[in-house]
């Protein structure tokens, strides 16, 4: 019996690094007990992390699949599991299972296309994986634009990586914005949807959106206004999940299970679903 | 005392102002009672929620005793009067469900009654020990 795999039975993972990204987001590096990556995944996929006795929760894997050594999770403090993780230290063991969900179509739809990534706040976490994947296979894709905004400079996730690595890449344009003016910030100020409209992109790109629902809604409207077709816009959903494999019955939107059929959805697919997300 | 007598686990909720001080006084006077008794300090006996009592049984306690100031002496004037009603109702309900009534007790112990505290605990431990293990409100998952 014990040799039968069951997706509900996790592996033990160890937190090997904790990085404080913003006042309420930390990035955790996780490997298995033997120091390896827990499993392979594709950009956009998720993993269930748990703290025994506290609970289990789904997180998108922030690190790129091209990272062979470990996985990273950028986690915002907002509930009991995340609260607990935020006070965990290096060496803390947790459990991990996955990967779950459908990834971004990086190898087919995205291939050869110009890419536009738009993220707000912690919404950069799932995009970081795909951005770094595309940067890794730079020659497979066209121009990459990244629009990223947050409340303030301190709330920008992966700021160092963005300015030191992404912004210096050839063919990658990074556009940062914060909601309100701040001392020491000479970049753009304003909300992401407006910023996107101001920047005014060509519409032959594939766009990927991630952020708070309100941002997604207005950005999508903006993109459509610019002439984007919804079939070229992707986003990710987040709902309460327990099993990760479409059995526990709670993360469905209409007949689609976010854990299994998502979390990545094309925006025109979302239009087909009832408005319950 | 019998040699192999059952060692019960007793949780005692003591109010800060009278009974906890009474327990301290028992200590000052070196009045011995079994180490099976573990005291939890609460501001007033009226802080003891019935769920705490049930939880203690769930987690393996064999007896739960609540100690407060004598009626009329409550630091908060009326807390123990509420305790008295609540516990009368709860204990009666537990008895109604067939759970041994001797496993729960409410006692008034003043800050001056170190001797009464020790005597009460000795008696309660003895009573619960004679009943043996708590089987009727146990949660098998919590057994060692």
């Amino acid at each position: 019996m014990n040799n039968v795999n069951d997706t509900l039975i996790p592996k033990i993972g160890v937190i090997t690094d904790v990085r404080i990204d913003t006042p309420d987001i930390k990035t955790f590096r996780v490997v298995t007990l033997d120091g390896k990556k827990a499993f392979d995944h594709m950009p956009g996929q998720c993993a269930m992390l748990s703290v025994p006795g506290v609970g289990e929760a789904m997180f998108s894997i922030t690190s790129s699949p091209t990272n062979e050594e470990f996985m990273e999770f950028s986690i915002k403090k907002c509930g009991c599991v995340t609260d607990w993780l935020h006070q965990a230290e290096v060496g803390q063991q947790i459990t991990i299972r996955g990967p779950y969900g459908k990834p971004f179509p990086v190898d087919d739809v995205f291939a050869g296309k110009d890419l536009l990534f738009i993220a707000g706040g912690v919404g950069l976490a799932p995009l970081r994986s795909v951005i770094n994947y595309c940067r890794h296979y730079r020659d497979r894709y066209g121009k990459i634009d990244i629009v990223y905004g947050s409340r303030s400079k301190d709330d920008l996730l992966d700021y160092q990586e963005i300015i030191n690595e992404w912004a210096t890449d050839e063919g990658v344009d990074v556009h940062l914005t914060i909601d309100n003016p701040q001392e020491g910030w000479d970049g753009h100020v304003g909300f992401v949807p407006n910023f996107v409209k101001e920047l005014g992109f060509d519409t032959d790109k594939v766009a990927v959106l991630c952020g708070p629902p309100i941002m997604i809604k207005f950005t999508l409207d903006g993109l459509c206004g610019l002439g984007f077709d919804k079939t070229n816009v992707y986003t990710t959903l987040e709902l309460r999940m327990k099993c990760g494999v479409g059995k526990c019955g709670r993360c469905n939107v209409g007949a689609k299970y976010v854990c299994k059929d998502g979390p990545v959805f094309r925006c025109d697919e979302l239009d087909e679903l009832p408005d319950e997300y | 005392m019998q040699v192999n007598e059952y060692k019960p686990l007793i949780v005692a909720f003591c109010c800060n102002w009278c009974s906890y001080a009474g327990a301290d006084l028992a200590g000052n006077n070196r009045l011995a009672y079994p180490a099976d008794v573990k005291i939890i300090r609460v501001p007033c006996s009226c802080r003891v929620n019935p769920t705490f009592i049930l939880r203690a049984f769930q987690r393996g306690a064999d007896g739960v005793i609540i100690c407060g100031c004598h009626p009329g002496d409550c630091h908060y004037t009326s807390g123990n009067y509420y305790t008295r009603r609540r516990m009368a109702a709860l204990f009666s309900m537990l008895d109604f469900l067939g759970i041994e009534k001797e496993r729960t007790r409410l006692e008034w112990v003043s800050a001056a009654e170190g001797a009464k505290f020790a005597a009460t605990m000795n008696d309660f431990v003895q009573t619960v020990a004679s009943l043996g293990e708590n089987k009727r409100l146990e949660d098998l998952r919590c057994k060692k």
Binding site: D6, T7, I12, G246, K247, G249, L273, P274 | D139, C142
Partner: protein, 342 residues
């Protein structure tokens, strides 16, 4: 087909119980029936159905998944799975048997749920044709024939005898162990019995209930139907319908800290509960209407959409009998979909 006199039914039970745990419906003091483990002296119930469905045998209300021990920063995982006991569930009605198909499609789809699969592999289902369907029955709506139940072994009861037919290898093996107590026979008596049942089926008040208007692809049409407001208005948000339902399979995974370790267990959950979809920062089904709609849309639209048109209801009638406010799938189907106005 094999038959045995009902007088020898206890011998049959004893023979089954020799090799496996045998569960069968037994009358309770409160007038209802429930599955109980057979032991010498247990009396098999004549009741049409049990309050709880036999899904419990494969998907129990609570089950421990694994255990953890934590010490300092370390976590140890203990896999507590063991081979399930061999067991036989006897007397499962056609509707309930059908529910296993519906559950299988959820739990046995890759990645299969090993806990469910384990019990499924070790359980043998002996079904029983109905003799006395009641007013709450509407299995026919979902294409189920109560006179011809599926299962590893199908059984029919007449006044005097019980007839068995094995449908699967497991069933054949079990029936083989009963060969000394049973005798080969033709299906004449069974055919007669089937006809009797089908005659009663024609009298049932819900015989004309149809699934017309429901099924995969109907989401857009039904989701915003105005009737949901009225239908859900009295719903108390309890879990009675989901818990007595043989096909409801939503579950929750929770951790219980015993003080000496952590047990991770799963338990039934209900989409009717207000916190079913509640997350740390929001809930996508905020009102009872949304939760109520989810339950019926799932059974009548979403599930069929994902499962080749198979509805996730077997018409057993438990929710009709047990809902505290008498709101149920029949009333929903009559208000919405193809039965409108009937």
């Amino acid at each position: 087909m094999r038959k045995c006199s009902l007088e020898k039914i206890n011998e049959i039970f004893a023979a089954i119980a020799k090799n496996a745990a045998l569960y069968l419906p037994v009358d309770r003091t409160d007038g209802s029936a429930a599955y109980k483990k057979w032991e010498e002296g247990t009396v098999w119930s004549n009741a049409l159905n049990t309050v709880r469905s036999p899904k419990d045998f494969f998907f129990p209300q609570t089950e421990d998944l694994m255990r953890f021990k934590t010490k300092g920063k370390t976590v140890q995982l203990e896999d507590i799975r063991t081979e399930a006991e061999a067991f036989v569930v006897f007397g499962v009605r056609a509707c309930d048997v059908k529910s296993f198909d519906i559950l299988d499609r959820v739990f046995l789809t890759e990645p299969a749920d090993s806990f469910y699969a384990n019990r499924r592999n070790h359980g043998v289902i002996v079904s029983l044709a109905c003799t006395r369907p009641v007013e709450t029955c509407f299995c026919k709506t979902f294409g189920i024939d109560p006179s011809a139940p599926a299962g590893d072994i199908s059984a029919w009861k007449t006044e005097s005898d019980i007839f068995f037919e094995a449908n699967t290898e497991k069933g054949k093996a079990l029936l083989h162990t009963l060969s000394e107590l049973t005798e080969e026979c033709d299906d004449g008596a069974v055919a007669e019995q089937k006809a009797k049942i089908n005659a009663v089926m024609e009298k049932l008040p819900l015989k004309d209930l149809s699934t017309k208007g429901f099924g995969g692809g109907k989401t857009a049409e039904l989701f915003d139907a105005p009737e949901w407001d009225e239908l859900s208005s009295a719903c108390l948000g309890c879990g009675t319908c989901t818990f007595v339902c043989p096909t409801c399979q939503c579950y929750d995974i929770k951790d219980f800290n015993t003080g000496n370790g952590v047990i991770r267990f799963r338990c039934w959950d209900s989409c009717m509960y207000s916190d079913f979809t509640k997350m740390a920062h929001g809930n996508n089904r905020l009102t009872q209407k949304e939760r109520f709609r989810q339950r019926f849309m799932h059974k009548l639209v979403y599930y069929p959409e994902n499962n080749d048109g198979l509805f996730s209801c077997v018409g057993c009638g438990r929710c009709l009998a047990k809902c505290p406010i008498s709101m149920n799938i029949v009333k929903v189907m009559k208000k919405i979909g193809g039965n409108k106005g009937e």
